[in-house]
């Protein structure tokens, strides 16, 4: 199907984006990579009157390193993250997730900011950001807010972004030598949205965050299961799998019912275990 009619502006700077957002409110949509927005227009699930193309805005680009963090501009494409030596060294969970995100032609244009702001609960990056406790940098005309991943995802396609704000960058803590991580998902075709997936990170021994995706209206941190593994290591796996029933209340979908998803959550956890518990 073809997209309905809309206006289009290629914004040159953030100030122009804020002006347009003020003028058009909810009727305007931000266009970054377009790999989720354009399908939703083509399917007429979304009918904005204006698309604000932000691809030319230099402030939103680039991957840079600070003393303790890696700051990724919202416009960094999936393929840029996939090929970045900085990401593979300091944010290896994201590097591991990349090949699972859609297909090469889509990764060439899709952006990290677009994926996170779209907040599809079956998508990989929101779960990675949750597992890594990433910080979202939200820019408004006069102020900047920093929101942790746990507070950013509010529900199905809903985030903490307020009217007039845009997601400018995402800040990840830098992995150190003791960092352990695992990424795993089950999809019917490589690159499709997962039936269920797990992004897990242990920044140092004694800490572990398990973020499941494809199970609810947002990424879900399985904290009880993580506590079992932190306490008992590999010996805690059975207890951890049992805890998943409390941590997750999977909703069924076309792929699988709640019980099947719960079972698969345990399968993914067992697969992830060796990477998470390997000692340095």
């Amino acid at each position: 199907m073809k997209a309905p009619p809309f206006g289009y502006v290629k914004a040159r700077e953030l100030g122009q984006v804020f002006d347009l957002l003020d003028q058009h409110g909810d009727e305007a949509k931000i266009l970054a990579g377009g790999q989720s927005l354009i399908p939703s227009l083509n399917l007429r699930l979304s009918r904005p009157t204006l698309l604000i193309d932000i691809n030319a805005i230099a402030d939103l680009q680039g991957i840079r390193e600070t003393a303790e963090t890696i700051v990724v501009g919202a416009l960094a494409t999936h393929v840029a993250l996939e090929k970045s030596p900085i990401i593979s060294r300091y944010v290896p969970l994201v590097a591991a997730a990349m090949p699972h995100i859609a297909h090469p032609a889509i990764r060439n244009r899709g952006t990290i900011g677009g994926s996170l702001a779209f907040a599809d609960p079956a998508a990989e990056l929101p779960a990675c950001a949750t597992a890594l406790e990433a910080t979202f940098i939200l820019r408004g005309r006069s102020a900047e807010r920093r929101v942790k991943a746990a507070g950013f995802f509010h529900g199905l396609f809903e985030t903490d972004l307020r009217p007039g704000e845009i997601l400018a960058a995402i800040e990840f803590p830098k992995a150190t030598a003791s960092h352990r991580f695992a990424f795993s998902e089950l999809a019917r075709r490589h690159g499709d949205y997962a039936m269920i997936g797990l992004a897990a990170a242990s920044p140092q021994p004694g800490t572990l965050r398990l973020a499941y995706f494809g199970v609810a209206d947002r990424p879900v941190a399985a904290d009880r299961a993580a506590a079992c593994l932190v306490k008992d290591g590999a010996a805690g796996i059975e207890a951890a799998c049992a805890c998943l029933a409390e941590d997750l209340e999977p909703s069924g979908d076309l792929n699988a019912g709640p019980q099947t998803k719960l079972h698969l959550a345990g399968v993914l956890l067992q697969r992830a275990l060796p990477s998470l518990l390997t000692s340095a």
Binding site: F6, Y8, I38, N42, H103
Partner: protein
């Protein structure tokens, strides 16, 4: 309907055209420029039939607006074919019977062209992962993987490398 002027290089030729904001790049190529080699399938990014190259990388023609191609260089199957850049891939597809109805073939070739350029050491599993976004409804995947693997092998030998 809101109109925009764009400057775009299509298959090496500089063009200036007026396009509607809502027009997809693939429709611009097919309907305005009569470059009908690239096909249009699902129109929401799933099937890969419309895969073309923009600034040298594979993209979905149905997930990009024509207005976004302003300033870009676009190559369709016609351009890739005429330049000879994928002659070995086309030959291998033919030899391995890697096409039946041919509907998916232009998109497959645009995707495969990127793979052989960027991942010269790809193995069969990597080839499969790379073309996973392109549907072939004639069940031709095995032959398609064979064809791409043959080209990678031949290019490695021609480059005098040790292979993978």
């Amino acid at each position: 309907m809101e109109q925009h002027d764009i400057n775009v290089i299509v298959n090496g030729q500089k063009l200036r055209r007026r396009v509607s904001a809502r027009q997809h790049l693939i429709d611009f190529l097919r309907n305005e420029l009569s470059l009908t080699g690239s096909h249009l399938g699902c129109e929401h990014g799933v099937c890969g039939a419309c895969t073309i190259q923009v600034n040298g990388t594979a993209v979905r023609g149905c997930l990009m607006l024509a207005v976004q191609a302003d300033g870009a260089s676009v190559d369709t199957i016609e351009g890739l074919s005429d330049s000879g850049a994928i002659a070995d891939l086309q030959d291998a597809f033919h030899k391995h019977n890697a096409l039946q109805c041919g509907f998916c073939t232009p998109g497959m070739l645009a995707t495969a062209a990127e793979l052989v350029e960027q991942h010269p050491n790809a193995d069969r599993e990597e080839i499969r992962a790379h073309i996973s976004g392109n549907y072939c409804r004639c069940t031709g995947y095995h032959a398609i993987v064979d064809a791409i693997a043959t080209v990678l092998d031949a290019r490695r030998k021609a480059a005098g490398g040790s292979g993978a």
